[in-house]
C-alpha cells in the first residue's frame, strides 16, 4: 500500500474547498434562471434568435448575472475537475502542470466570456 507519511500532502486546501462549496448554491440559482430564460422566456419559449439574445441583454442586470455565472461556473468546474484528478493520485509534476493549465483555462475563458458579454450587451 501507498505510504502516507506524517507530513501532509500538499495540493488541496480549505480555500479551494470553500470556493467550491460557496459557488455551488450560487450556481444552482443562476443556472436555473439561465435555463428558464433559455427555454421559457419569449414568445416561442426561450431565446430562439440572435435578436432575442441581444434584447435579453439590454437590461443592465442580465450581463452582470451572466458574468457572475461565467466566473463561478468556471471556478467550480475547474476546482471540481482538479479534485477528481487528485483522487487518481497524479504525480507532483502532473499536478503542477494541471495547476497552471487550469489557472490558464479559468482566466482565459473568463476573459473571453466577459468580452463576449460586453460585445452582445453593446449591440
Amino acid at each position: 500500500m501507498i505510504e502516507t507519511g506524517s507530513t501532509p500532502k500538499q495540493g488541496e486546501t480549505t480555500i479551494l474547498w470553500l470556493i467550491k462549496i460557496v459557488t455551488g448554491p450560487i450556481l444552482l440559482i443562476v443556472a436555473t434562471i439561465h435555463l428558464i430564460v433559455n427555454h421559457y422566456i419569449g414568445s416561442l419559449g426561450g431565446l430562439q434568435t440572435y435578436s432575442d439574445v441581444v434584447k435579453y441583454y439590454k437590461a443592465w442586470y442580465i450581463p452582470v448575472m451572466e458574468g457572475i455565472f461565467l466566473v463561478t461556473v468556471l471556478a467550480h468546474s475547474l476546482i471540481g475537475l482538479r479534485g477528481v484528478i487528485l483522487d487518481l493520485r497524479p504525480t507532483a509534476a502532473m499536478l503542477k502542470f494541471i495547476n497552471w493549465a487550469f489557472a490558464a483555462l479559468g482566466v482565459g475563458f473568463s476573459a473571453y466570456g466577459l468580452w463576449l458579454i460586453i460585445v452582445i450587451a453593446g449591440r
Binding site: M1, L28, H39, Y40, V84, D87, L88, Y112
Partner: protein, 128 residues
C-alpha cells in the same frame, strides 16, 4: 493491490455499486454529471463565439439545434444541472455538519425534485 492499478481501473471503482448503499448512487451521479457538465461548459462557451460574428452566423447555428437529437442532448444537460445542483445542496448542507443522519432522505428528496424539474423542462422543450 489497488496502488498498482492504472487510473482507468481505479476510476472505474467509483462506478461499481456492488455491495454499496444508495448514497454511492449519489456519488456516482454527482461525478458523472460533473464530468459531463464540465465538458459541455467549454463546448457551450466556444460555440457561443458565433454570437460575436453577427445575426446570420448565430441564427444559422441555432437552426442546428432544432433537430431532435440536439434536443435530447440539451435535455441531458438540463437533467445534469438539476441532478448535480440538487444533490450538491445535500453535500453543502452535510458538509457543515447539518442533518448528516438525514442525508439519505435529503438525497431522495433532491432526486425527486430533480426528476420533476426534468419532466417540466422536457415537456416544454418537446412540445413547444
Amino acid at each position: 493491490m489497488n496502488a498498482q492499478s492504472n487510473f482507468i481501473v481505479r476510476a472505474a471503482r467509483w462506478f461499481d455499486p456492488r455491495g454499496r448503499s444508495l448514497s454511492t448512487w449519489g456519488f456516482m451521479i454527482n461525478r458523472l454529471t460533473a464530468l459531463g457538465l464540465t465538458f459541455y461548459l467549454f463546448l457551450h462557451l466556444i460555440t457561443l463565439g458565433q454570437l460575436a460574428q453577427g445575426p446570420d452566423a448565430y441564427d444559422n447555428f441555432l437552426k442546428l439545434t432544432e433537430s431532435p437529437l440536439y434536443k435530447i442532448g440539451e435535455l441531458a444537460v438540463v437533467a445534469a444541472v438539476f441532478l448535480h445542483g440538487l444533490n450538491g445542496v445535500r453535500i453543502v448542507i452535510t458538509s457543515f455538519g447539518i442533518a448528516v443522519p438525514r442525508q439519505r432522505e435529503i438525497f431522495i428528496s433532491a432526486m425527486v425534485l430533480g426528476l420533476i424539474a426534468i419532466i417540466i423542462f422536457g415537456l416544454r422543450m418537446f412540445t413547444a
